[in-house]
């Protein structure tokens, strides 16, 4: 009877195992392939019919992806509709009890998706570009102000620990451009200066991007326009050799070039074995085959040390990024007879992978706490089933001898222990099957964003972007102000 029960239950649990094996990327392959191929309306259909992304816990991802897709189709109004929803969700993200419970019992894929740090700034970037394309400059300036709020929030996240990602230099640079587009030179100078300070403090490069010379020129130009002589002298000395450029009277185009695809999260399994230096010390082997020590602060997760004494080995799953598009192409932008140099503004490969690496210790500790909670549940199931089985088997026959009673008692105990072991084993199977890493992220982001500022002449301008054997031409009319556009390679 117990054997049949075991067989049936095992069958069901292995079905669950097969179902839950795929990472987020694999479940969404159809959608991402279509986006890469440029079939945006088919991709949209695929997105709207995908069951995984339509779930409540992935609502933020759905809004981000829909916002990106509509933008790629040049539908800026709808793009902002979804991006605004995403922005609102990111602003109000709070951990609720259900999330924590599900995360501890199952795996982090069942928690609500909380955006990565850089995704917040990319949302502001796209929203501002959308508003700029629609001519809604005031709304673009609101985005600029929201970049300040997001940057402040980012700084407060890590208590000013400069080893973590506390400033988004790209966001600050874009903020300066938005203010300049709106004619607010004072705020533009402040934003450019904040971005410049981040680059100056970080040495040769900040998360994969070296100080763009265009930013140096912008800073000096806005300082001159505001008449800030002291700042002008200070930064001229710091930059050594950059001079502010003059702008065309007919206006300027800031062209952003987006290329490639953001890195994709994959699952990495780690075996943690208990180490020698006491309770809570574990050893694991990382990707390079090196053995590392890991000290688990079990008290802060509410786990008592007795629960750890008989734990020998644990398997945990953690996410790690796989870069899809390793290096930017050689891009040449020309307008008329002049060629303008394109500079890297944001390297999402480096930013994304660094942010995850910086979080590694915390992620491992959370995964470990989850595994231990599951082990406790297993032992609990074992004990409970054992005691229930002992209760059930109390149907003695009245007229039996003492010897037989002893035999029956032993048999009962064995049966109960067996039932307990089976229950514990089933729980173990479920726990192993449901252990997955959170492999969700906004994967239709580009890998690199570069930019160039092109002075325009009166009337219609034709800007040619050449990359590899391809080229795209952008036709734009000068409007005596700054215009912002973006193209996707």
């Amino acid at each position: 009877m117990i054997l049949r029960y075991t067989q049936a239950a095992l069958l069901i649990f292995f079905c669950c195992f097969l179902y839950s094996c795929a990472s987020y990327n694999k479940s969404m392959t159809g959608y991402y392939e279509r986006v890469k191929a440029g079939e945006y309306d088919k991709a949209l259909q695929s997105l709207q019919h995908n069951k995984l992304i339509k779930k409540d816990r992935n609502a933020l991802l759905y809004n981000l992806e829909a916002g990106r897709l509509y933008r790629l189709q040049n539908d800026f109004v709808n793009s902002n509709r979804y991006l605004n929803r995403a922005d609102g969700m990111m602003e109000n993200n709070s951990t609720n009890v259900k999330d924590v419970a599900l995360g501890n019992l199952l795996n982090p894929m069942h928690e609500s998706y909380k955006a990565e740090d850089h995704e917040q700034f990319m949302v502001h970037f796209y929203k501002a570009l959308n508003y700029a394309m629609l001519g809604q400059t005031e709304d673009a300036v609101v985005e600029a102000r929201r970049i300040t709020l997001s940057n402040d929030k980012q700084q407060q996240k890590f208590n000013g620990n400069s080893g973590r990602y506390i400033n988004d230099a790209f966001g600050l640079n874009v903020q300066g451009m938005i203010y300049e587009m709106a004619g607010d030179m004072n705020n533009a100078f402040i934003s450019y200066r904040n971005a410049a300070d981040v680059y100056l403090k970080s040495g040769s490069s900040y998360y994969g991007v070296s100080f763009p010379s265009q930013l140096k020129k912008d800073l000096l130009r806005t300082a001159t326009a505001m008449g800030f002589q002291n700042e002008l002298k200070y930064y001229e000395a710091s930059f050594s050799g950059a001079a502010p450029d003059t702008q065309s009277a007919f206006g300027e185009l800031i062209l952003f070039v987006e290329e490639g695809n953001a890195p994709v999260k994959q699952q990495h399994d780690f075996m943690l074995t208990s180490g020698k230096s006491g309770i809570g010390n574990f050893i694991y082997t990382d990707q390079n085959g090196v053995n590392n020590d890991f000290n688990f602060d079990y008290a802060s997760y509410g786990i008592s040390s007795e629960k750890l004494t008989d734990v020998r080995a644990l398997r945990i799953a953690l996410p790690a990024y796989e870069v899809q598009y390793p290096a930017p192409q050689n891009i040449s932008v020309s307008s008329g007879a002049n060629v303008y140099p394109v500079q890297l503004a944001q390297d999402l490969n480096t930013v994304a992978t660094s942010i995850l690496k910086e979080r590694f210790v915390k992620e491992m500790a959370t995964a470990l706490a989850r595994q231990l909670t599951k082990k406790i549940v297993e032992k609990g199931a074992e004990a409970a089933t054992e005691s229930i089985a002992k209760e059930k088997n109390k149907d003695d026959k009245k007229d039996t001898t003492d010897g037989e009673k002893e035999k029956q008692k032993k048999k009962r105990q064995e049966k109960a222990e067996h039932a307990g072991e089976v229950a514990g084993f089933l729980m173990n199977v479920v726990n192993t099957a449901t252990e997955k890493a959170d492999t969700r992220n906004w994967q239709s982001l580009p890998a690199f964003v570069s930019y160039v500022r092109i002075p325009l002449h009166e009337g219609e301008n034709a800007v040619t972007v050449k990359y590899g054997n391809n080229e795209q031409v952008i036709k734009i009319n000068a409007n005596r102000g700054i215009q912002m556009r973006s193209i996707v390679l």
Partner: protein, 61 residues
């Protein structure tokens, strides 16, 4: 006595602005909204009513 359903144009226009200031630290945030409104008689251009209100909201994540 005005009758219904005979509107051809408005008599008054209500204009204003909504401003917000956000004060945030980690997961606690105070948003202060200031709403300024003016009610203007379209015919005579007379500002009939001016009002403003400050609303503060405390958000804890």
């Amino acid at each position: 006595m005005k009758k219904f359903g005979l509107e051809q144009g408005a008599d008054y226009i209500l204009q204003g602005s909504v401003n917000s200031i956000v004060d945030a630290f980690k997961r606690k945030k105070t948003v202060t909204y200031q709403i300024n409104l003016e009610l203007t008689n379209i015919e005579t251009n007379e500002v009939v009513w001016i009002g403003d209100k400050k609303i503060s909201k405390y958000v804890k994540n």
